[in-house]
């Protein structure tokens, strides 16, 4: 009984952490290159919506996920254009995208299905463990059984992000661009291109995070289903000091606290449900108070880079 509960707590934590993790990694890419991404929430909404729409259109959930990623990229291109080429205010741009995507998806829902609230259930979804052979492992089998393809993708992405940003020349360029773009430019690195690529990768990951919530959880899109997770991801990113592995730990921590709230309720813990719901948020603050050392983001993050007029 206790192992079962432990495993269910763990899998629940991991599933809850998955969309946060993907979105937070999206933030890692874009902020490491110097572009603050407040738009994570909006891009997730776009990803969640378009992945469902394309699943409806094609009948394939994987194509749907692809579409979620592609539209995440499109959405982030708005941010990239404003933040990089137009040297606009990145926070306004992000806020605008959040507003726009909330409205646009609701609008399209109306146009396409003539209803509001949620789409019909998609003909396919990706909510079950893709690696069936893992389920055969004793004890751990039940653990793997409760994972979705997105869980694997998220954790692979942690590795990919760490590897690309810390172990490749390109990653060194990205981090240099985020810290000191002028220095990067003087050694011949194209600041704009590097930032564009990072913001688009960010869009792809946040789009995938959105698809996790729709295709990967309930098989439909619902207005409000992202429910502030983009902002929690933003917090996790800062909590994780803009580092993929630490960000993963931050997301897992948050997921674990949320799972603990849920588990506590199913145990019938006798406390007002509102107080239980506060657990993840209070715990995060307490942990932050306990952690010594400031979170220092990439220095040039949020600053538009002016190429010298030539």
């Amino acid at each position: 009984m206790t192992t079962a509960i432990f495993i269910s707590l763990l899998t629940s934590a991991i599933r809850l952490a998955t969309p946060l993790l993907l979105a937070a990694l999206a933030g890692v890419y874009s902020e490491r290159s110097g572009v603050v991404n407040i738009a994570l929430e909006g891009i997730m909404i776009a990803g969640a919506f378009f992945s469902i729409w394309f699943t409806h259109l094609t009948g394939s959930a994987w194509i749907g996920v692809g579409a979620g990623i592609v539209f995440g990229v499109f959405t982030s291109a708005i941010l990239a254009a404003i933040a990089i080429n137009l040297k606009g205010n990145q926070v306004i741009a992000g806020t605008a995208i959040n507003l726009l995507m909330t409205a646009l998806t609701a609008f399209l829902l109306e146009i396409i299905w003539h209803r509001s609230g949620s789409t019909p259930t998609a003909p396919a979804m990706l909510t079950t463990n893709p690696l069936k052979f893992l389920e055969g492992i004793p004890l751990l089998g039940t653990f793997f059984k409760q994972l979705t393809p997105f869980v694997y993708m998220a954790f692979i992405m942690v590795f990919v992000a760490y590897f690309t940003l810390w172990k490749t020349p390109w990653g060194l360029h990205v981090r240099a661009v985020g810290e000191h773009p002028r220095a990067a430019e003087t050694v011949g690195i194209d600041v704009y291109k590097t930032r564009w690529v990072c913001v688009l990768i960010s869009g792809a990951l946040a789009g995938l995070a959105g698809a996790t919530l729709s295709v990967g959880t309930v098989g439909l899109f619902r207005e409000g289903m992202v429910a502030g997770k983009g902002f929690i991801a933003l917090a996790a990113l800062v909590f994780g000091k803009w580092h993929p592995v630490k960000t993963m730990l931050a997301c897992l921590f948050f997921g674990l606290c949320s799972a603990a709230n849920i588990l506590a309720q199913s145990f019938g813990v006798n406390a007002p449900t509102e107080f239980l719901a506060m657990i993840p948020y209070i715990a995060t603050i307490l942990v932050l108070i306990g952690i010594v050392g400031k979170a220092q983001g990439p220095k040039a993050s949020g600053e538009p880079y002016e190429k010298d007029e030539k």
Partner: protein, 370 residues
């Protein structure tokens, strides 16, 4: 005269063009829904501006977002990003309800002052927590305010459900809202002063908001407190060198910021809603406030026209709905306006190109004239 016009135009050009683009995009979306954009926009403006009651409705929409806009503006000026106006607003509304209920016996003026002070302090405290954590423990205010938003929401829901619930207090029929603000603590409706405001819900809270904007402007730009806050925002190290404490000003700015959001919550409660409902989500004013501040260039007075713009849109949305157009359209319009304001360089470039063309044409005409 012409110079003055040129100056004013240079200041408002970007927002104006952004608004035009926003409405054009909106028109396309309206057309897609099979409606006539002209009809929709007439409805929008008729509802928001064309009549006194309509304008009154716009004013009640402006009131809370002007407060949260000011809250965001002052935090921006200190180099802080207060995403927490939502939570600060919520705690303050609960505080306002509690004071108005428990202080019913007090003289009206005194009670109102007490409620507003309580709202300001409650919001200020909630913001101050983030400020304190930032100043003393270096915790990024973005994280702490996001977390505090949710904590505020759940705390308010609990308080409304149990300690402040009328049915728990008086054994009445169940309700999802708190006790109601007693008559004595309600702000005066504008229609009670000027009957022309008719059906509108506008209340004297708008004046409190406008006064707050002016006071904030004064504090920020005319006092040493403002000088210090702005200096910390622009260069904290230079500020410290100049004997300006970063920690103190961070806390002060977060307190003021939270206080303004809180004042917004209190005013909204005693001016319009009269109770706090249990709610699954944050009211959203804090986020709109960010937009208001950003469009208003983080200037307290700039927040006024900016809040007016968002107020018109939000109120106009109701009229468009009555004309059968989905409410999302106005959100799309606001979003597009913001996109264009964020990317204001496009506008500038387009504007310059147009100007160049006109300039050439003007020159040609002159030459032809010669």
């Amino acid at each position: 005269m012409k110079e003055k016009f040129t100056y004013v135009w240079s200041v408002i050009r970007l927002p104006v063009i952004a608004v035009v683009f926003g409405f054009l995009t909106g028109a396309v979306c309206i057309a897609v829904t099979g409606n006539n954009p002209v009809v929709a926009y007439i409805a929008l403006f008729r509802g928001s501006l064309a009549s006194i009651p309509g304008f009154g409705e716009t004013m009640y929409k402006i009131t809370p977002i002007l407060f949260t806009g000011l809250a965001a503006a002052i935090s921006f000026r200190c180099g802080l990003f207060n995403i927490g106006a939502e939570g600060q607003y919520v705690v303050a509304s609960v505080a306002a309800i509690a004071i108005s209920w428990f202080g019913q016996g007090l003289p009206r003026i005194f009670l109102l002052a007490l409620i507003l002070t309580a709202g300001f302090c409650a919001g200020g405290l909630w913001g101050g927590i983030a400020g304190f954590l930032k100043a003393k423990r270096g915790i990024n205010e973005v994280i702490s305010t996001i977390m505090l938003n949710w904590i505020a929401l759940y705390l308010a829901n609990y308080l409304v459900r149990i300690p402040l619930s009328p049915n728990v207090r008086a054994g009445l029929s169940p309700a999802g809202h708190s006790v109601v603000v007693p008559e004595v603590a309600k702000l005066t409706k504008l229609k009670a002063i000027v009957p022309a405001f008719g059906y509108s819900s506008a209340h004297t809270g708008i004046f409190i908001a406008l006064i707050s904007a002016v006071v904030m402007w004064y504090i920020l730009f005319k006092t040493t407190v403002g000088y210090e806050i702005r200096t910390v925002g622009l260069n904290a190290q230079a500020a410290e060198y100049g004997g300006i404490s970063k920690a103190k000003n961070t806390m002060l700015a977060m307190f003021l910021s939270g206080g303004l959001a809180g004042l917004g919550g209190a005013v909204q409660i005693i001016g319009l809603v009269y109770m706090v409902n249990q709610s699954p989500m944050l009211p959203g004013y804090g986020f709109t406030g960010l937009s208001v501040a950003l469009v208003g260039n983080s200037h307290p007075l700039g927040c006024i026209p900016s809040a007016l713009l968002f107020g018109i849109l939000e109120n106009g949305s109701r009229q468009m709905q009555l004309a059968g157009i989905p409410s999302e359209i106005t959100s799309i319009i606001s979003g597009v306006i913001l996109v264009f304001i964020a990317g204001s360089l496009v506008i500038k470039l387009a504007g310059d190109r147009i100007k160049a063309k006109w300039g050439k044409r003007a020159m040609r005409t002159e030459q032809e004239g010669l």
